[in-house]
Amino acid sequence: MSKLAIRGVTRVFPGVRGRAPVKALEPIDLDVADNDFICILGPSGCGKSTLLRIVAGLAEPSAGEVRLDGRAISGPGPDRGMVFQSYTLFPWLTVRGNICFGLNEKGLSKAEQRARADEFIGRVGLTGFEDHFPRQLSGGMQQRTALARALATDPELLLLDEPFGALDNQTRALMQELLLGIWEAHRKTVLFVTHDIDEAIFLATRVVVMSARPGRIKCDIPIALDHPRRYTVKTTPEFAAYKARLTDEIRDEAIRAIALEA
């Protein structure tokens, strides 16, 4: 049985002021195995974030269902940790306070919360910044904290919605290595939404390409690059071959997406 099963999930936004309803997602079927790292790759507006929000329980599918470990998802919960593209650290809490938020909801004692928070602060390389407030941190540090916050509650599934989208290129590459290193060391089932082809190939064990609106799964490509992966893998011929293939797939969709906007 797969860890996560998405069955016939669709999403239709009702038409505004008499206009026709907008189909965001065609029926989507996707199975994710335990400890898979899936990157959902698609042009902007293809509904990939909508799909992730449905899995998170933050949006309702118009039809179909999502099952995690066989149980149907009916709303958000701590079994699915999420990192958002926007900076969503609670500004009134320190780095440690943010990470303790979910641990507190879980009912851990103060001492347990603190120990666990400090462990994850170490894991994302923020030791020494425990008592900083979010506004004192760079974007990359904020997203590292958000990652630690999502991982600390030990979710079954980690959802990431273009988490490095707002970061500069160098920071973004380092964040990818950090995330991959954590995944290689601790394993976790991950759904990662992105429109960056290199990012998808570098991180994923499977890349799922989505079409332009209405979104459907266009192809599903396993990435057979060895682990642990170093940043040098990005310049290998194997990586380039994946990139050539995915660039073709995504280019057609990007052209269609632009035509839709016009």
Binding site: L58, F101, E105, R135
Partner: protein
């Protein structure tokens, strides 16, 4: 390139800022002194700065003005606290829960335009001319404003913060308690500071009619005696108290909410 200090949004050094602020006070008093001592205005209409200070000293030493000040502060603070204790929770409930907002918002939006001072005759009829009536004026003047402003602040909680809390296992009560409240707290404190300033204007109006004590009553009495020195001293006293409470409030907010970026 040397840029003019009048370049838009160009920052100012703190020293220059304070110096300019004091300079206007000095210029203001100088103009006042020139107008009175220079004979531009007759003393009947405007007392000189010197006689205002003398009047002030007399007020404290002979007329127990300190008691009037205490009474006025008690009325403002008392009425304001009663208003805040009810308005803040109600505003939070309205901001967080749409049915509560739909139920109260239209009426409160209407009630907020009812001028507090226009209620004074009615309130005298209902509550007499005692302290209850004074507190009621302050309450009416600040309650409706506070409710609406708090509701707007709480209702504007960033939805992505709420969603992040949900994915961390928060339940609806936790969203209100652990996200909406701490998120809104600094802005609510700022709103309290602002509305407290308005409450000061209502208390004086309340004391002009049917009062035996208070700064407003003293000003009213001084008018009968044509003592412009006392009147001016009373008005300045209110200004000073307002300025001091404002600074205290600001400092308290700064200490309570170090994470809040006052940009």
């Amino acid at each position: 390139m040397k840029r003019s200090p009048f370049t838009p949004l160009r920052p100012l050094s703190p020293g220059v800022r304070v110096a300019l602020g004091i300079a206007f006070f000095v210029a203001f008093v100088a103009l006042w002194a020139q107008a009175t001592y220079g004979g531009w205005v007759r003393p009947l209409f405007l007392a000189s700065p010197g006689s205002a200070v003398v009047a002030g000293v007399t007020l404290f030493t002979e007329y127990g003005f300190a008691f009037d000040i205490a009474v006025t502060i008690w009325r403002v603070v008392g009425g304001f606290i009663v208003a805040a204790v009810i308005a803040v929770p109600l505003g939070i409930a309205m901001g967080a829960f749409k049915p509560v907002e739909a139920f109260f918002e239209p009426f409160i939006s209407f009630a907020r335009y009812l001028p507090a001072s226009a209620f004074i005759p009615l309130l005298i009829l209902w509550a007499g001319i005692g302290e209850t009536q004074k507190l009621a004026v302050i309450f009416i003047g600040s309650f409706f404003q506070l409710v609406l402003m708090v509701a707007v602040i709480v209702g504007a909680t960033r939805i992505d913060l709420v969603e992040a809390a949900y994915t961390l296992g928060a339940r609806p009560s936790g969203i209100v308690r652990r996200v909406m409240l701490p998120n809104a707290a600094p802005q609510i404190a700022e709103t309290l500071r602002l509305v407290l300033g308005w409450a000061w204007t209502y208390v004086i109006v309340a004391e002009l009619i049917g009062a035996q004590t208070g700064i407003g009553h003293m000003i009213m009495d001084s008018q009968r005696l044509l003592d412009t020195g006392q009147m001016i001293f009373g008005i300045v006293t209110i200004g000073v108290i307002g300025l001091v409470t404002d600074l205290l409030f600001k400092e308290a907010n700064r200490r309570l909410f170090p994470w809040f970026q006052a940009s």
